[in-house]
């Protein structure tokens, strides 16, 4: 299984795009009339959030493919997508908190449905690794993790719907994150940042896949050389250890 294909081009593309996006954010996009400079965290926070949620859903889609085909590589894809999305989700929560503090004066605001839904989704996915970790049989681990990834992936949109309904009819939306009302320069900057972040996610995902599959292959080569006795036993892990 070669996961490393196109990695160089992707790495260069995401480095250029992310650097370019930051350059645009700092030197080109205008300061927000209301919030001033602090609003620029938006170009980091929102793309990060969108990419994270897409990563979670992608994990579910790979989960479906794993259950349909039984190929372990899909489980590895699903695991790595959710793993990286989970790491980025911490970044989303932190940048979101900073922004909330700067613009609303509080670290956490329950009135903002996007914030609350994101926290719920984060809490749900935080169980993904413990679930995998507590199942020993690797085949069952992969199967159960896929079921979880599918259910949780479907939960993401439904949860956003429910939380938004609970709040939006009482409170008007303070900020439109879809960018419908953004002036042209802001929108361009935002789109570059979004594409850059998506590119970064795919790059990280491919790096992690390549690394995981390389160590799995290395282990099977070692087993062929030294036999089962010559290998240190695998320590229990949440990550897939076979392909």
């Amino acid at each position: 299984m070669t996961f490393g294909r196109g990695l160089r081009a992707l790495s260069i593309a995401s480095a250029v795009l992310i650097t370019g996006a930051f350059a645009l954010v700092f030197f080109w996009a205008p300061n927000d009339a209301d919030q001033g400079f602090v609003q620029k965290i938006f170009y980091l926070h929102v793309p990060l959030g969108i990419v994270t949620l897409c990563g979670f859903v992608a994990g579910g889609i790979f989960g479906i493919q794993h259950l349909r085909t039984g190929e372990r590589a899909h489980d590895l894809r699903s695991y790595v997508a959710i793993h990286i999305a989970l790491v980025l989700a911490v970044g989303v929560l932190i940048t979101g908190s900073i922004w909330a503090r700067a613009s609303w004066g509080q670290w956490w605001v329950w009135d903002e449905p996007t914030l609350v839904s994101f926290l719920i989704v984060f809490l749900l996915y935080a169980c993904y690794q413990p679930l995998r970790f507590s199942i020993e049989d690797p085949e069952r681990q992969a199967r159960y993790a896929s079921v979880f990834a599918i259910v949780a992936g479907a939960f993401v949109p439904l949860n956003f719907l429910a939380v938004r309904m609970a709040e939006s009819l009482v409170h008007p939306r303070v900020l439109s994150t879809t960018g419908g009302a953004m002036p042209g320069e802001m929108r361009t900057t935002f789109l570059v940042a979004l594409v850059g972040m998506a590119c970064l996610f795919v790059t990280l995902w491919k790096y992690e896949l390549a690394s995981k599959s390389a160590s799995i292959q290395l282990r099977s080569l070692k087993r062929r050389l030294a036999g089962d006795d010559g290998l240190a036993p695998l320590s229990r892990s949440a990550a897939p250890q076979q392909l």
């Binding site: 749900l124 507590s134 079921v147 479907a154 939960f155 429910a162």
Partner: protein, 224 residues
Amino acid sequence: MRATVAALIRKDLQLERRSFESVPAMLMFSVTAFVLFHFGLDRGALAGDLASGVLWVTLLLAAVLGMNRLFVAEREQGGFDGFLMAPVDRTALFVAKAVVLFAFLCAVELVAVPAFVVLLLEPGIGQALPELLAVLVLANLGIAIVGTLIGALGVQTRARDLIIPLMALPLLVPVVIAAAEATAPLLESGGADPFPVRWLGVLALYDAVFGLLAYAVFDFLLEE
């Protein structure tokens, strides 16, 4: 399929009647939680959204106890093996377990809701009973579906009692939102406010989505 489901349900109900493992524990937990809320909130009587929140959080946590126990007999007494060897549709187990959990929840609420009215609720709920029943049934359905799926997912792990609540509670947040929002106006002191029907729609949508989803993926939890 129908005969299989009926047989499985009969088995579980008989098991519960003889061992009294789930329903009494859930019931005791609910009543104890009401007492805790009384002291924790330091209130003699609740109304409106506070009452509805206390009721739903308690019922949800009690339901988690049921989820934890739901597949234990299958796992520990070899019920899974027996079921897999039988030439029957595997979805039957999902349907039967969801019905059983639904029945357990209804049985618990039959006592816990009146206990809540007596212990904590300020206004009576006589006039709002049909609406409350509709919310209870739809919410129970959602909890039963998700609970069965997560129960089956979690029972094979080594940390069952930890994993099941951790997975089930975030998944059930939409149910709590919808059920609590729908119940709050019914429990207002000084007569019920107009009933927000759209929350029943949300509950029904949730039940339908997770019902289909669980139906699609449940088989994969049973393969050996």
